[in-house]
C-alpha cells in the first residue's frame, strides 16, 4: 500500500446474500453470490468504468465498497488525501461514518433517490449538518453554491423534487454527492434513466466536476459506448466476477476475453455504413443464476470457444502485460 497513486484497493471482495426458508427459525438454504471474489485498484483522479449486464453484480460491488452492504469476505483499502490507509470492511460505527465524508454515491434513479417531502435545500444541506461541516446560515450559502456548481438556479432551494425534470433531479443528486467535498464518488448508472439528449448534459457535467475538484469516479454502467467515453480504465464483469480489466483503448480495440468480445460486438453503432460491415458475435442463451453459478469459468456455458478445462477450473486472474488483466484459460 505504499503506492500513493492508489486511492482504493479492492481485494477478493465477496458479497453473498442469504436465501432463507421458514418463518421463525429461518434456515439458510443457499445464497445469491452477487459478488464473488473481485479485486481491482482505483487510481487517484481516474475514472474506472465497471460494465456488465443486469444482475452481474456491478451495483452490489459499488455498494459493498461504500459499505452500504457489509462484505461477506475480502477487503477494501481506502487511502485518503491524508495518506492514511483504512480497511473499510474492518471499521464500523463512528470511524466508518467519518470515512463516509470522503466517498459518496450518485444513484441511478433520480425519481427514487430524492425524498419527495424534502426541499432541495434540505436534501443537499442534510449531509453538511450531519457531518457538522456547516450550520445555520452557512448551510444555505453552501447549498446555493453547490446548486450553481451543478448548473441549477441557486434560488431553487425551497422547491421540491417533483418540480424538476429527470436531468435536473440528477443534478440535485450530484450536488448532494459533492456537498462534503468527497474524494471518491461511485456513479451507479447515473444516466441510464435519462433521455439521450439529457444524458450528454449530465456526462459533461460529471467530466467538468472531475477536473475542477480532482474527483475519482467508479462509473457503473451497462452502456458500453458511454463507458468508453468517460473512463480511463474499464473492468468487465460477468456473474459476480471481473473477467477483464485494462486501459480503455486497449480494452475496446483489443478485447481478449470472449465475453468482452461478444459484449462489444453486440453494441449497435449509430452509423449505417459501419453497421453494414460489422460481424456480430451472438451469444446463446441467458446469464445463469448466481445462486448456483457454473463450475470453473462462469462464462463457459455461453462461451463460443469453451474447452473441457473451462468447466473444471476457475481461470486465474492474469496480467497480460501493460496492465491488461484477464481471467480466461484460452487467452495466450
Amino acid at each position: 500500500m505504499t503506492n500513493d497513486n492508489i486511492l482504493l484497493k479492492v481485494q477478493d471482495l465477496k458479497k453473498h446474500f442469504p436465501i432463507t426458508q421458514g418463518i421463525v427459525f429461518m434456515r439458510e438454504v443457499g445464497s445469491v453470490k452477487a459478488v464473488d471474489g473481485v479485486s481491482f485498484d482505483v487510481k487517484r483522479g481516474e475514472t474506472l468504468g465497471l460494465v456488465g449486464e443486469s444482475g452481474c453484480g456491478k451495483s452490489t460491488t459499488g455498494r459493498t465498497i461504500l459499505q452500504l452492504h457489509r462484505a461477506t469476505a475480502g477487503h477494501v483499502y481506502f487511502t485518503g488525501a491524508d495518506n492514511q490507509t483504512v480497511d473499510l470492511t474492518a471499521i464500523q460505527g463512528e470511524p466508518l461514518r467519518k470515512m463516509r465524508r470522503k466517498m459518496q454515491m450518485i444513484f441511478q434513479d433520480p425519481y427514487a433517490s430524492l425524498n419527495p417531502r424534502m426541499t432541495v435545500g434540505d436534501i443537499i444541506g442534510e449531509p453538511l449538518i450531519i457531518h457538522n461541516v456547516a450550520r445555520g446560515k452557512e448551510v444555505n450559502e453552501r447549498v446555493q453554491e453547490l446548486l450553481k456548481i451543478v448548473g441549477l438556479n441557486p434560488l431553487f432551494t425551497n422547491r421540491y423534487p417533483h418540480e424538476f425534470s429527470g436531468g435536473q433531479r440528477q443534478r440535485i443528486g450530484v450536488a448532494r454527492a459533492l456537498a462534503l467535498q468527497p474524494e471518491f464518488i461511485v456513479c451507479d448508472e447515473p444516466i441510464s434513466a435519462l433521455d439521450v439528449s439529457i444524458q450528454a448534459q449530465v456526462v459533461n457535467l460529471l467530466e467538468d466536476l472531475q477536473e475542477q475538484f480532482n474527483l475519482t469516479y467508479l462509473f457503473i454502467a451497462h452502456d458500453l459506448s458511454m463507458v468508453r467515453h468517460i473512463s480511463s480504465r474499464v473492468a468487465v464483469m460477468y456473474l459476480g466476477a471481473i473477467v477483464e480489466l485494462s486501459s480503455r483503448d486497449e480494452l475496446y480495440n483489443n478485447p481478449l476475453h470472449p465475453y468482452s468480445q461478444a459484449l462489444l460486438s453486440a453494441v449497435p453503432v449509430p452509423d449505417p455504413v459501419v453497421e453494414e460491415k460489422r460481424q456480430r458475435i451472438i451469444l446463446q442463451g441467458d446469464v445463469p443464476s448466481p445462486i448456483n453459478p457454473p463450475s470453473g469459468c462462469r462464462f463457459h456455458t455461453r462461451c463460443p470457444i469453451a474447452q473441457s478445462i473451462c468447466s473444471e477450473t476457475r481461470p486465474e486472474w492474469r496480467d497480460m502485460g501493460g496492465g491488461h488483466w484477464v481471467a480466461c484459460h484460452l487467452v495466450q
Binding site: E53, S54, S165, G167, D195, V196, S197, I198, Q199, A200, Q201, V203, N204, E207, H222, L224, S225, M226, R228, H229, I230, D249, Y252, A262, L263, L264, S265, A266, V267, P268, V269, P270, D271, P272, V273, V274, E275, E276, R278, R280, I282, L283, D286, V287
Partner: protein, 328 residues
C-alpha cells in the same frame, strides 16, 4: 415499391383535467411492402402514441384521434368499426411491445396465449393450432418448444419472453409488424439476439416493419428509412444512410452529436442539447424545437416550419439551412 400503409395528417390528443395534450400533431408517412421504417425520438415525442393510434389501441377517452387517415389495403384504419379493426389487428398488422414482463398474461400458459390468436383469426382447431404454436416457438429459437407450451410466462427469462411475443405477433403471418421499443428492457447481448432474430424472420417472411426506438444505434443497422419525431411532429425523414451521413435538422444533428460511440477513438466533448422538450399541454406557436435550438431566429418563434424536401426522399421541417448556419 408498393405502399402498404399510408398515414396522412394523423392527430392524436388526450383530454385531461389540465387541458388538451397534443401528443401527435399531424404526421404523414408511408410504409412500403417489405420495408423497414425506423421511428426515433425521445420519451414523450409521440412515437408510441402514433402507432397505437393506427392500431386503435388508444384508450378513448381520455385519448382521441382528432384527425387524419391511415389507409391500409384501401381501407381507413381510423374509420373502421371495432369488429373490423379487430380482424386486422393481430392478423394483418401485429405488434410487439416494449415490456415483455407485463405484456404477457401471467395466468395463462404460453401455449394458450399463442393458440388463441390462431383459433380466432385463422379458425384452426386445437390440434392444428398446437402444432403451429410449436412451429412458431421453434422459429423464434425457443428450445424444447413442445414442453414449454405448458409453461407460464414467469418461467421464461426476459429475452425468451420477447421471443414468445415475437412468435405471437408472427403467428398469423402479418404484412406489417410494429415493434414498439422491443429491446429497451433487455441487456445488450440479448438485444443483439432479438435484433438478429427479427432480421432473419424479416428476410424469410418478407413483412414490413415499423421499428420504434430511442436508440439511434439499433435503427442504423436495421431500418431502410428513418423518421425523427419531436413533440409530436416529424422533423426529419430520410433514407438511413442519408440521415446519419447528412443530417439536416438541428435536433437530429444534436442527437447524433450527443451519442458517444463504442468505436470512437479520440475523446471529444459530447454535444448536449440544452433545455427540455416542450410541454405538450401548450405547444408554442412557432417551431417546437426553437427554445433549444442553437440556430433559432425570429421566424422560428412565430411560424412552425412545414416538412419540406431537401433531397431525394429526404425531408426536414426547419427554416434554417444547417449547412450554412443561416436562413434559407
Amino acid at each position: 415499391m408498393v405502399d402498404l400503409l399510408e398515414v396522412k395528417d394523423l392527430k392524436t390528443q388526450f383530454h385531461t383535467r389540465e387541458g388538451v395534450v397534443h401528443a401527435v400533431n399531424g404526421i404523414s408517412y408511408t410504409l412500403g411492402e417489405g420495408e423497414t421504417l425506423g421511428i426515433v425520438g425521445e420519451s414523450g415525442c409521440g412515437k408510441s402514441v402514433s402507432v397505437l393510434s393506427l392500431m386503435r389501441l388508444i384508450p378513448e377517452p381520455p385519448g382521441k384521434i382528432a384527425g387524419g387517415q391511415a389507409m391500409f389495403q384501401g381501407n381507413d384504419l381510423l374509420k373502421m368499426s371495432q369488429d373490423e379493426i379487430r380482424r386486422v389487428r393481430g392478423a394483418q398488422i401485429a405488434m410487439i411491445f416494449q415490456d415483455p414482463m407485463t405484456s404477457l398474461n401471467p395466468v395463462l400458459t404460453i401455449g394458450r396465449q399463442l393458440t388463441e390468436a390462431l383459433e380466432v383469426h385463422l379458425g384452426m382447431n386445437s390440434q392444428q393450432s398446437r402444432e403451429r404454436a410449436v412451429e412458431l416457438l421453434n422459429m423464434v429459437g425457443i428450445p424444447q418448444a413442445e414442453d414449454r407450451l405448458s409453461d407460464y410466462p414467469h418461467q421464461f427469462s426476459g429475452g425468451m419472453r420477447q421471443r414468445v411475443m415475437i412468435a405471437m405477433a408472427l403467428s398469423c403471418n402479418p404484412q406489417v409488424l410494429i415493434a414498439d421499443e422491443p429491446t429497451t428492457a433487455l441487456d445488450v447481448t440479448i438485444q443483439a439476439q432479438i435484433v438478429e432474430l427479427v432480421k432473419r424472420l424479416r428476410d424469410e417472411l418478407g413483412m414490413a416493419i415499423i421499428w420504434i426506438t430511442h436508440d439511434l444505434g439499433i435503427v442504423a443497422g436495421l431500418a431502410k428509412r428513418v423518421i425523427v419525431m419531436y413533440a409530436g411532429f416529424i422533423i426529419e425523414e430520410a433514407p438511413v444512410k442519408e440521415l446519419y451521413g447528412d443530417p439536416r435538422h438541428p435536433y437530429t444533428l444534436g442527437l447524433l452529436g450527443s451519442l458517444p460511440r463504442v468505436d470512437e477513438t479520440a475523446h471529444r466533448r459530447l454535444i448536449s442539447i440544452e433545455g427540455l422538450p416542450p410541454d405538450l399541454l401548450g405547444l408554442p406557436q412557432g417551431c417546437p424545437f426553437a427554445p433549444r435550438c442553437v440556430y433559432a431566429m425570429d421566424r422560428c418563434w412565430k411560424e412552425n416550419p412545414p416538412l419540406e424536401s431537401v433531397g431525394p426522399g429526404h425531408y426536414k421541417a426547419c427554416w434554417v439551412d444547417t449547412r450554412q448556419g443561416r436562413a434559407q
